[in-house]
Amino acid sequence: MNDYLSGLGALLEQYDVLGAFWTNIQLTFWGALFALVIGTMLALMRISPIASLRWAGATYVNVFRNTPLTIIMTFLVLAVWTQLQVSLAADFNSNFFRLAVIGLAVYHAAFVCESIRSGVNTVPLGQAEAARAIGLSFLPAAQLVILPQAFRGAIAPLGNTLIALLKNSTVAAAASVSWETASTMKTMLEFNADYRWEIFALFAIGYVILVIPIGLLTTWLSQRLAVKR
């Protein structure tokens, strides 16, 4: 028993598990930030009355939503970095990290766009008609009546996208971010096969702890802010 515990203790000393999770949290933060910016722009394009912008937005969403994230990550490292020699930072590690953030952002932007659009779709047509009936022109109607309701309707799908983004941050392994959780777990499993169940439980529970608060928070927010109809 003592051997078992000391073995487990040595394992945790040898590998920086918390640091690995911190890497994934950082990947998620930057990925979510850029995905939100790109996704909002795409959503604006897709709901605009200008056909060419709508088409461009739809094309982006269809391409990136249907491409496996693993391909995007592999492409960034093998094609963009190795073959095109586009480097985002002087040292290898920051370069891989930034490539992974770009991969996460461009992939999830498509889902952010669709989340925001589905929020706009929750607003009944009568709301826009009522806004026009009381004399509001386009911008005030959008600002005062439609967008506030649309954002509230988009919280739940955006929360789902954030959870997916956190879990997908492990795919950064395909972009050579070898110090994140999936790669760290792989190394630990290779060298400490006796503890494989414990190691898996450690990482799995780590993700459960990270994911459940996000889920509870966004569910609570979306219900609290829901427009009662």
Partner: protein
């Protein structure tokens, strides 16, 4: 079209503005595309020396097509297994027996929170020890991980599908003397399954995309085959672009099918026939049956 909520029918002046914006937008989009092509050309990436091998018969016959076959095979096994898993645990979550409900709930919520890649890496290591006789451990690890994750998503679909039915359906079953289990199996589930068909098809897209994670543990699916053949020819950009196109075409067909089904079935069932977001975390329908943690 969602723009109908935001925009009035435009007058002549607005129509002219929109036309101008349309041309400008098209020019910008084409400009971005042209800039990309010029950049690629400047680095010699449009040369047939690189694209030729990617299109060659050797590449497709010995690498990409066998890879595609492995991808489709893994996805097929995974979706069938996930359906069985999802039905069992979805019914478990709707059970009237509290411990069954709790256990199913914990299992489903746990599996939905753990990244698929972690499961694949774990099972790959585990099968190496407990199943020494199995030749393709990576394939098995990919399939098992996909079954567990997508099965838990389907369990959630079953639960929310039954929850979205009008409560009169269940009440009618009880009123004619069926037990809870009989009502669920012979009245609610058949309707819920029809209603969730579009979301199921969208889930196949998720399975197909996630099967590419197998490349990280060495499963020779489409992406991995592309990596291998392109490392010899020195053209990963060209080959991976083609691989991505194959995935995009497959998934776009499935997305269109899901959309059509959703429209077709919405008039044939009293349940909600949403397509799902295609990211693996379906939005749980508000007021779903049984108290759950919601959209975790």
């Amino acid at each position: 079209m969602s723009s109908s909520v935001l925009f009035d029918a435009p007058g002549p002046r607005t129509r002219a503005l929109i036309r101008g914006g349309n041309v400008l937008g098209a020019l910008i989009a084409l400009g971005v595309l042209a800039w990309l092509l010029v950049q690629l050309d400047a680095k010699g990436q449009l040369s047939w020396d690189l694209w030729g091998p990617a299109f060659s018969a050797r590449t497709w016959e010995f690498y990409l097509l066998p890879g595609l076959q492995n991808t489709l095979q893994a996805a097929a096994y995974a979706i069938v297994g996930a359906l069985a898993f999802g039905m069992i645990f979805g019914m478990g979550r709707l059970s009237k027996i509290a411990p069954v409900r709790w256990v199913s709930g914990v299992v489903v919520e746990f599996l939905r929170a753990v990244p698929v890649l972690l499961m694949m890496v774990f099972f790959y290591g585990l099968f190496g020890v407990v199943l020494p006789g199995v030749a393709d451990k990576a394939f098995l690890a990919v399939v098992v991980a996909l079954i567990l994750y997508n099965g838990s998503v389907i369990a959630e679909l079953v639960r929310s599908g039954v929850g979205s039915l009008p409560s009169g359906q269940g009440e009618a079953g009880l009123a004619i003397g069926l037990t809870d289990g009989q009502t669920l199996r012979s009245i609610q589930l058949p309707q819920a399954l029809v209603a969730m068909l579009p979301a199921m098809v969208s889930q196949v897209v998720v399975v197909l995309k996630d099967s590419a994670l197998g490349s990280i543990i060495g499963f020779s699916e489409l992406l991995r085959s592309g990596q291998i053949v392109s490392s010899g020819d020195g053209n990963p950009l060209q080959v991976l672009a083609l691989v991505a196109v194959v995935f995009i075409l497959l998934n776009m067909v499935l997305t269109v099918v899901a959309h059509r089904l959703s429209k077709l079935l919405s008039s044939r069932t009293s349940g909600l026939t949403d397509e799902g977001p295609g990211i693996g975390n379906p939005t749980v329908v508000a007021g779903g049956a049984g108290g759950g943690a919601g959209a975790v």
